[in-house]
Structures are given as C-alpha cells and as structure tokens.
Symmetry: C2
Subunit: 399 residues, 2 copies
C-alpha cells in the first residue's frame, strides 16, 4: 500500500510503526504529538457497548482539558474485555505520558480491531516506545496507514484556511471500511489544525459537521463500539483564536466540512468489498428528517446494494426501500433517477432501457435520486455496493 501525503499542521508530528500486533511488518500502531496543548473536540460512538478506549475518550472530553498526544492500535479493539480493559487503556496512556513528559489524561488512547480479546500489554507498550521514537513532521502518511484495518487505501484530506488574514492548516485522516453506520462518528477519525478555536464553538462545529458527513455514511448498518472522531486545535499557526460565528468561523467551517466530506466519501468508496461509491439523494420529502430516513433506508438495503453490485436494472427496489423507511410516500407522485436517467415518474417511464440502465449501474460511481414530490425535505447519504468480498472479508475476519 502506498504511503499517502499528509502534510501536518504546524506543531504536530506523527508516526506509524509495526509493534508486532499484525503480521509481516504491517503498521499496527500510530502516534500523534502536538508541541503545544491542543483544544479538543470529539464524538464517540453511541453504541451502548463501548470499548474501554471509547469510554476513556468520553472521560477526557468531559474533563475539558487540552491534550497533547494520541496513541492508536488497530489490531485489538479492547472492547468487551471486562474491567481489565479499562486498566489496560489507562496504562497505555500512562506509558505514553511518561515517555512524552505529559499527564496521562493528556494522551488519548484509541483502538479498533477484534473485540473480546485483551490487549497484549508488552507489545502495546513497546509500540508506544517505537511510536515516540519515530515521531516526525513528515509522519502523517505513516500514521494514516497505521490506523487502517480492512481498509484497502489510506484516507486523507487537507486544506488551508485563512483566519484573520493568516493561513492556518487543517489535515485529517480516517480509518473505516466495515462496521460503518452512523450514530456518532462511524470510524476512527483524526482532524488536526494549527488554527485556534474556543472550545465550546469548536465542539458545536464538530457536532454539526459530523452530522452532515460521517453520520451520512453507511456500509453495513453496524455501528462499532470503538468509533471516535477527534479534532485537535493547537493554535501554532499564530492565527487569532476564533471565538464567534463570524467570517473566520465560516471559513474554518467550510474547510472542515470539505475535509470531512472527502473522508466520508472515501470511506464509502472503500467499504468492505465495495466496487462502487453510491450516493443516495432524496428530495421532496415531507421534511428533512423523513428525507434522512428514506436516504438511509435505500443506502442500507441489501437488495439495492446487491443490485448495484450486479448492475441489475432492478430499480423498483429503491422505492420499495423508501416505502419501509418511515417516510411518507405517494408512489403516484414519486420520481426515480439513476445517474440522471429517469426510470419512474408516478409509473414506470415508458420505454426505459434496461441496457442503458445497466451501463449506468456499471460505473464506478452511481447516483440514486428520488424525488418524493411531497415537500421540501432533502438529504444525502453515501454508501457502497454489497459484494461477494464483503461476505468473504467478514466471514473470515478473526481467522
């Protein structure tokens, strides 16, 4: 796998190392370090079952303190590991804090991977040492690779943002391929900036952006107990602190939304076994909530997702999924377009061509649009097709 280019914002360094958790030298632990204390915002899974690292992250978010480092292992989720799991996560934070000369609570500890297996403490601790040794200003790409599990490609995005005439930088990377469904962040996501924002404003913004991006993403409808997205802002750019919803805030919001949308789409595109990125857009719903239900039902439907995989022009399944979504539907008013080609408008479109539709469904990116003709509600969701490889990957995951 190629190492991606992920230029880090000023004051950040990172690394990705092989701690011996995975086979054959694969990167399996990642570390991020900020020279200055970074303001933290974050979203943690709403699954009732939460990994020890997810619970620990919640505790640190609640504490409100600035953070300095993140340690990630991507082999053992440390979930369903009993009381020992929290001790293991805390001790990982302690080891990193000791090595980096900071308080353990300034170190976020994240993990993902197989559940129900205790982490191998000596290997993890050794990984922290290796990670600290490897920290580098150019380590963003290695970090982005180290956080992956079943992903086939690293997922990175970055952009500049002008704050009060000064240029700050925003960079992000995520891992996520299966067990992807909203309800808070749906994977591990790391967003770093050398801009500065007041904590309340930054937390409100991240919630908003996560709702419009990572929470509009589904691969298999399974939410993970590990999922977390964090945004660290260390202010090293020297740009003035954004404290209210003015022009600087708007510019930063646009950049953050852009980065998160890039990352969310790249997760859908790299969904386990996926061959196609599928965008589902609903318009004309009674309201946005119903549009969201409808879009998500279509995006989750195994029947729609297998039909897209097989390029089978079985478009009826789309409206059928809208029909059980909870959204109001009048099938005599609804319209359905695939890749801009209308197949249904209150009734099947006379003369629609199976061959043309098959060609549209054979593209790398498929756009499904449904207009319900009932109101102004709209929503967009990203997903992928459901394939043999999804079954293969998940039928053999721990084997």
């Amino acid at each position: 796998m190629k190492t991606p280019l992920l230029p880090l914002p000023s004051g950040f360094s990172a690394s990705g190392v092989h701690a011996g958790l995975k086979a054959k030298g694969a990167l399996d632990m990642g570390l991020v370090w900020s020279d200055k204390p970074a303001i933290l915002a974050g979203s943690v899974t709403r699954n009732e079952v939460r990994s020890a690292p997810a619970r620990r992250t919640e505790r640190i978010l609640k504490g409100g303190q600035a953070v300095r480092a993140i340690v990630v292992n991507t082999k053992f989720a440390n979930d369903l590991t009993g009381r020992q799991g929290m001790r293991d996560a805390d001790d990982t934070g302690r080891v990193a804090g000791k090595l980096l000369g900071v308080n353990p609570e300034e170190v976020l500890v994240h993990s993902t991977g197989v559940v129900g297996v205790p982490i191998p403490r000596p290997k993890i601790f050794k990984g922290v040492i290796l990670g600290v040794e490897a920290l580098s200003l150019k380590g963003g790409g290695d970090f982005a690779k180290a956080i992956l599990t079943t992903d086939l490609v690293p997922k990175v995005s970055c952009r500049p943002v002008s704050v009060g005439g000064r240029t700050a930088w925003l960079a992000g990377c995520v891992k996520g391929s299966g067990m992807i469904h909203p309800n808070m962040a749906t994977m591990l996501g790391y967003l770093m900036t050398d801009a500065a924002l007041s904590q309340p404003l930054m937390r409100k913004l991240l919630r908003e952006v996560v709702d419009l991006t990572f929470n509009r993403l589904t691969v298999d409808g399974d939410t993970s107990p590990s999922d977390s997205v964090v945004l660290l802002a260390n202010g090293v750019s020297g740009a003035k602190t954004i404290t209210n919803a003015g022009a600087d805030y708007k510019a930063f919001r646009t950049a953050l939304l852009g980065v998160c949308e890039d990352l969310a789409k790249s997760v859908a595109k790299d969904g386990e076994g996926a061959t196609k990125l599928v965008t589902v857009s609903i318009t004309g719903a009674k309201n946005d909530r119903e549009a969201g239900l409808a879009a998500m039902a279509v995006a989750k439907s195994p029947l729609v997702k297998t039909a897209v995989f097989g390029a089978d022009p079985n478009w009826g399944r789309i409206l059928v999924a809208v029909g059980y979504s909870g959204a109001k539907v009048d099938e005599f008013k609804a319209k359905v377009d695939l890749g801009g080609y209308r197949v249904y408008s209150g009734a099947p479109k006379a003369g629609w061509s199976r061959e043309k539709l098959r060609k549209i469904l054979s593209r790398d990116e498929v756009e499904i649009k449904v207009d319900l003709g009932l109101g102004k509600g709209k929503a967009k969701v990203w997903t992928c097709d459901l394939t043999y490889d999804y079954v293969k990957i998940n039928g053999e995951y721990t084997t």
Copy 2:
C-alpha cells in the same frame, strides 16, 4: 423440486400451473378454491409502497365479506405499475370470478416477483383458466410449489385440531426467501381451515400469531410491498363455530401457532443463499420491547450473519449489535452463549476455545443466546447466515 404433501382441509381444492410467465414449464400461478364462502382474516405489508394486489387485498379485508378463491402469480409483483396496475389486478379477479361463478370481490389476487413491470394480461388470464381447470382436492402441493420465487424448497405445515369433539384440519403454505423482514406478514402466506371462527375473533388471533411468528423473522431487513398472509375458514368440517376464547379457541390457537412457527422457521432456513438457520434468543432485557429490538439487531447484523456463515468465532459482534439496538445493555452483566457454550459473562470467559466455537458455528442450526441480566424481557427471532449466494441471487435477480 419435489412436490410436497399438503392435504387440504375439507371443502378446499387447489392447483399450481405453468402460465408461461417463467421459463421451462415452471409452475408460476396458483389457485385456491373453497366450496363454501370462507371467513377471511389477513395481514398486509406496512410498506408505504404497496403492490396493486396488496391494496386490493386491504380493500377486501375492509369489506369484511367472505371469500371463495385466491389467484397468485409469482413472476410479476404488479408493484410500482401506476394506475394501470390496479386495473390489471381487478381484471384478474373479474376473470377468475367469471370462470368460478362468484363475485370478483370474493377472489383474492396476489402476486410477487419483479417490481415496476406491468403484468402480461393475456398470459395471466390464460393462467387463471388453466388454474381453474386444474383445481383438485390433491392440488395443495402444486399450489405450494407454484407460489415460490427464489425459494429452494416448498414450505408447508398442517395439523388437526379438535373443536367441540370434532376434528377440523388446518393447512398452510408460504413463499419467502429474500426481502424478508417483519412489519406485517413478511411474505405470501396461505392458511386454510375447515373449522369455523367468528370473524372478529379470527382476526385478533391472526394478528397475535403473526406477531409471534412471521414478524419474528428476518432474512435481509427488506420488507416487500407485496407481503400478505391470509387465513380462510370455511367451516366445512361441521365443527361448531368458535366465538369466544374458551378451550376450543385455545386448541385452535395452539395449532395455528404451531403451523405458523413451522412456516416462519422454514422461511429463515431457506433464506436466500442461506446455509444455516439462526435462532437469536434474548433474555434478561429491561422489557419485552427492548428484548425484541436486541434480538432483531443481532439477527439483522451483516457482521454477525457473515461470521456465522464463515464459522468465524467472532462472538463479540453479537453484543456489539445489541449495543446499538436501542436496548439498555450493561456489558459487565451480560452473558453470551452459542449453541449452549458460554463465551462471555461480564468479560470473555477464561479459556473459551476457538476450535469448539468454530464447531458449534459449523452446524446447520446455530442458537445465539444473550442474557442481559437487567430484567424479565425476552424475545426470539429467526434468521439465517449471509453468504456469497445471497449476493449472487440478488445481484442478478432480473437478469
């Protein structure tokens, strides 16, 4: 495919014929006839998108009249076919009524198959003629075969029931393999009896029984716009009419529950591409509603279903699915058993064996039990594994 034995109750005859809708002489239309007017109870899909036949069935159920016949075609769902679809369904009822000498509204017209394609009227009408000609007291097996689509085996069940000292008979058959998820009956189901019940009592009973059986069944989480289950009682046995919830009612309820449970399990077992029947039992939930949410989340989870397919001992996914189900979970109180083998009890069970678990998951029937340790809520759901063949079948359905 072998023709099953389905002895019909007195006064019923049936047939299954090839009307030329499907290829190579496959049975594609079915007909049921009752010598005497039969009291009707029924459940129709709750999908907002409903096939013309489903809407027509609702109208007849609302009318409350007795019925005499059922016509089923299993190639064209007659769904999303615009206003013409209802005319086609009504005209099919008219043709059958004319041939059988009864009112069109005494004829139920059902269909399943591909959506968005108008039915070929001449072939369907010819099929009705063939079906009437072929009616026979021994035609139950042919009918049970004719109603199938992607099913690999016919699904039938029957039992005697003693009413006031007289023996009546109850027989049922269903079709259903994919697009199976509750919300009313989740497939086409036909239940026939020569007992007699008052209509209000019979309707209440069917609702109850459907909730305990067909609504506890999921294959892929997709509900169909065609799904209907009907119970016809013609009273030809001469057993006295059951009008209240006494001993006769109890006996009939037990028989009906048994038949419907047989049929629901056989649908899960024959789920598209399935290699295994999976039973998910939740106990100790805060209440029955939460137990139902938890059981359904586990049964729907693609990650659980692929792990069962691959016999991958990745049991953590079970509790993770319970965690996002909406049910309250305390992972330190929960217990998980697979095929009677405990793997988790507040923490992973020390020394659980991957090899033993792999053997359990390799069986034809897999029982997943979760005790949440929080209350008295319980629920059971039937499902199947998610396999390559599910993807294959649904990626090529119309092709």
